[in-house]
Symmetry: C2
Subunit: 327 residues, 2 copies
């Protein structure tokens, strides 16, 4: 089986590649070849048990998507996107990559024809939802994105469902919750602190908490994100019916509960590295975000997230810190 | 004030043009000029109290949308679309007109710049909804279209909301229920019988009813459709917040209730012209359609449909039959 990953150089793309390398198989079938694509050169994993091809291009440029699917990959992971902040700052770029790029990929698959009908796994986002929200967002709550990124993702979902309905491919869209704990350096994303208040203290560094302790949010670990993708790649599509886009489960906790979990796992000294410094701008942005999801459809279809925020922290320590905490 | 109508040669476009001609004003402002556009030549109304320009082109062709907005019309009615059946039969044509055309119109408005921010009224459709439905579809029910036409309309709604949020224009999308009684000859649309069983008998002709009498559906008259458009053109946009797309109200009745209304208004002899001839194909299509809507937001914002199906029939007799019934 051949696998194509668009957006392979990103954090989730790299972790997905690692997992495929470890598991060697997808849905019980041996992987013969993986094509890693991104706009910057993706790194081929060392000692992969299958052939690896890397490709670097702007997949929204005419003809580029066609090249990527010419070898008829069986599973296509479409993780490539201009992120929220950049899509808001550069409207044309966001539309070109997130909207036109996605459509050109879908059209390129359709153009292969001759019975080609791959599984397409599309990463959508909870940014398709916009306030005001119910307390828990159910599977039939409508999409009113409040960012251009969310709009582009919602359009991708609609196209995915229609291309699937017309049998041009077999698509599943998964709406990821906030991925926590994100590895790496602190960034300036408004949601960055949700990871930062865990990652930095565990690393012996101070972290800033810009919002009150009672702010609630929904998280899943990077490991869960990869598991969602793997499950979406192999799930029986007929179980989804016509509704091909799913909100993924996650752990809904307040910031206070995040900090309690950190204290339980790493002790008071680590938890004391969080400094409260309220930031009205970030507080305002965060107020517009969903609190929690009733992700019943995904759960019934076998998608699983962590049971608790403690698990999310433990996974970070195992996967990123080699099991060690800076005390 | 200048008004542009795309899709001006269609049934709703012609009736909207008539209404503007009668009223001379829109939202209290005198109309100075109306631009009527369609892919076939629209007919200029006789004795219009304002300048009328007609334009014929494919508005999805490069540069065409820009020509239409170059004079900076204050209100733009975007009624142009490839209809449901054709968009399903010709996927590329539907996408080109309904998706790319709409986007090119929106981009052309944005490109005018220099403070230009017209009211854009976009006709969407209840085809954005897909079964399974709740008994009444509320304002927060999500969009899962089951046709390419519905998908393209849903994408238009998302773009409209985002272009509005970014202040590129001031858009309102209205989801029309089934328009009944459609004037003119019987057509082969699956929904055609809802109008046919009223129009043909009133015209002294037999009509075929292909579904059981207990089938429920939601209707509004052509006169209401025009009223929705006029109201949407002049409504204070700030009252809508970020959610710029609205399900319009309508009259929810069973076929039996339609026939009862016809009998009350035109007598037994007219109602006897309906012949029951069940058609499994049409029955199956109709089963996938919404039954009724809880169009609370639109109603609260002042959109009004008829109170009863009797009213819908009376409007047809007044507007299309000069008040006379073939007895």
């Amino acid at each position: 089986m051949e696998v194509l990953i668009l957006g392979a150089a990103g954090m989730v793309g790299r972790k997905l590649t690692e997992r495929l390398t470890q598991e060697k198989r997808l849905g019980g079938r041996e992987i013969s070849r993986v094509i890693l694509h991104d706009v910057v050169a993706p790194q081929a994993p060392e000692g992969a048990p299958f052939a690896v091809t890397t490709a670097t291009s702007d997949f929204s440029a005419p003809g580029e998507a066609g090249k990527l699917v010419a070898s008829r990959p069986d599973v296509i992971f479409h993780l490539a996107a201009i992120v929220s902040g950049e899509a808001e700052a550069d409207f044309d770029k966001g539309n070109r990559i997130n909207l036109d790029g996605t459509r050109q990929l879908f059209e390129a698959i359709r153009a292969v024809g001759d019975g080609y009908r791959p599984r397409v796994v599309f990463t959508s986002s909870i940014a398709v939802f916009g306030a005001p929200f119910p307390d828990a967002i159910g599977d039939e709550f409508f999409l009113t994105p409040l960012t251009s990124y969310g709009t582009q993702k919602a359009i991708g979902e609609l196209l995915l469902a229609d291309y699937t309905r017309r049998s041009f491919f077999d698509g599943i869209g998964i709406r990821l919750p906030t991925i926590c704990v994100r590895p790496g350096k602190p960034n300036k994303a408004a949601s960055g602190f949700f990871s930062g208040i865990i990652r930095e203290p565990l690393n012996g560094q101070e972290a800033i908490l810009p919002v009150p302790d009672d702010v609630r949010h929904t998280h899943a670990s990077p490991r869960s994100a990869v598991s969602f993708l793997m499950h979406a790649a192999t799930l029986d599509g007929t179980k989804l019916g016509e509704r091909r886009n799913l909100t993924m489960p996650g752990v809904s906790v307040t910031v206070a509960e995040q900090i309690d979990a950190l204290r339980r796992i790493a002790g008071d000294r680590v938890a004391a590295r969080i400094r409260r410094e309220p930031d009205p701008t970030i507080m305002h942005i965060v107020e517009g975000w969903p609190l929690r999801f009733d992700a019943r459809r995904a759960t019934n279809l076998g998608f699983k997230a962590e049971e608790s925020f403690d698990d999310i922290i433990r996974i970070h320590i195992e996967d990123e810190l080699g099991g060690k905490i800076a005390s």
